[in-house]
Amino acid sequence: MAVKFRIAIIDPSQILRAGLETSLSQISGKFQILWSFSSLSHYSSFADEIDPDIIIVNPALFDPSGAETIKSILSNTEDTRIIAFSYTHTSDILIRQFDSVISIYDTPAEIALKIEKTAGSLSSDSDKKYQKQSGHPESYDLSDRELEVLVSVAKGCTNKEIAGIHNISVHTVISHRKNIVRKTGIKSVSGLTVYALLNGLIEQ
């Protein structure tokens, strides 16, 4: 499963926050705008409770001299990529501190691409993080035998044929099929075929 990037936006303009959020969610299901803040202090009051993968922030909110690093202002962000969302000129010394820069004149596709590229350097770490988090009970995954039976069902084989192919009894086939239905929640043969196709177990 593809990893979703959890994004926080910090910008004083509600219109721009909403616009960015809409454009990103329309263009790809990969981006989840989970948090939206109007100011740095608004962000700071929640910083301990949230863990975004990416923060998109208006650089004009920081001191242009870059005297205080943005990482220290946006606390708790060791693993977080920080992207500048700029609509005016920003000093080089400040801009260098960001992982990437997007502009209000970029198209949604350009913005999405930049975010993905920036986040790409992080995805291997976060893959691990999400695998750990998504640990669901083992018993809900289909066993190898159940997967084999599922593929045969999706190909349109009868229980008797499946028993012959895999050298098991019809009774065993039925019990595998019951478990497949219980685990997936999918009862019809065409529904199971969709499952097999979506998961790349069979080709069309």
Partner: protein, 246 residues
């Protein structure tokens, strides 16, 4: 104030003396039944009987449909329904079919096409989903067409005293296929196995429509199985006994 609780033993079925507004407040799915029967809103403090009478709808049929939808243990009394009330029931079922095929399914179809044509979608996956939905839609179409073209005309015949040979409502009951199974499969596929990249707002919109329609289909099948079938079987028997008597 009367409170309805669907799952417990001490059950009181809906009755004609209750306020219509109380009934709807207790179970909002009744709105669909009101709408199909052409009962107009603005109930005030009127009872179910009064509202039905004012709208020229049989209160008995209305209550039977509501009770079957909401109470598993409800059994209608077959003797108490007149032929014109059975005709009302057939009209209600026809209207339900019409609403499913011309309103609910098209709006679901629109959601499915929005999802499968979205920018982030994998065209291969989209084709699979689209195909599954279209297959299901065709199945539904033939299920409802069979009832509209064969079963209901047979019932209308019985009501006018003519019994078509070689068919009985028992045959319908035996072959009455389950139309919710694939709907529930589609629901689970979207809920559990939809690959990333689809617009989540449309997916959730579609899911809530599927949940509602699944419930509608279940209620619809129960009305056919537990009201229409026994009513028609009762009429078949009464025709038989008249024929024997003469």
């Amino acid at each position: 104030m009367v409170y309805y609780c669907k799952s417990e033993d001490m059950r009181e079925f809906y009755s004609g003396n209750e306020k219509m507004s109380t009934l709807v407040n207790g179970s909002y799915m009744i709105i669909k039944i009101l709408s199909r029967l052409g009962i107009k809103p603005g109930f005030g403090e009127s009872s179910v009987n009064e509202v039905c009478y004012a709208n020229s709808v049989s209160a008995k049929i209305f209550l039977a449909i509501c009770n079957i939808a909401d109470f598993n243990q409800y059994k209608p009394e077959m003797d108490s329904f007149s032929k014109s009330e059975t005709a009302d029931l057939v009209r209600y079922l026809r209207l339900s079919h019409n609403e499913f095929m011309n309103k609910d399914i098209p709006s679901i179809e629109l959601c499915v096409s929005k999802i499968t044509s979205s920018a982030g979608a994998n065209p291969k996956h989209s084709k699979i989903l689209q195909h599954f939905f279209e297959e299901y839609r065709d199945e539904l179409e033939s299920h409802f067409t069979y009832e509209d073209k064969t079963v209901f005309p047979y019932v209308t015949g019985i009501l006018s005293g003519k019994r078509e040979k070689g068919y009985s409502i028992e045959k319908f009951e035996e072959n009455h296929s389950n139309i919710e199974a694939k709907l529930s499969d589609l629901k689970n596929i979207l809920l559990k196995y939809l690959p990333a990249g689809y617009p989540h707002d449309v997916v959730y919109d579609l899911l809530s429509r599927l949940y509602l329609l699944e419930e509608e289909f279940e209620n619809h099948a129960r009305v056919e199985d537990f009201l229409l079938v026994p009513l028609v079987a009762h009429l078949e028997n009464s025709i038989k006994s008249i024929n024997h008597g003469s």
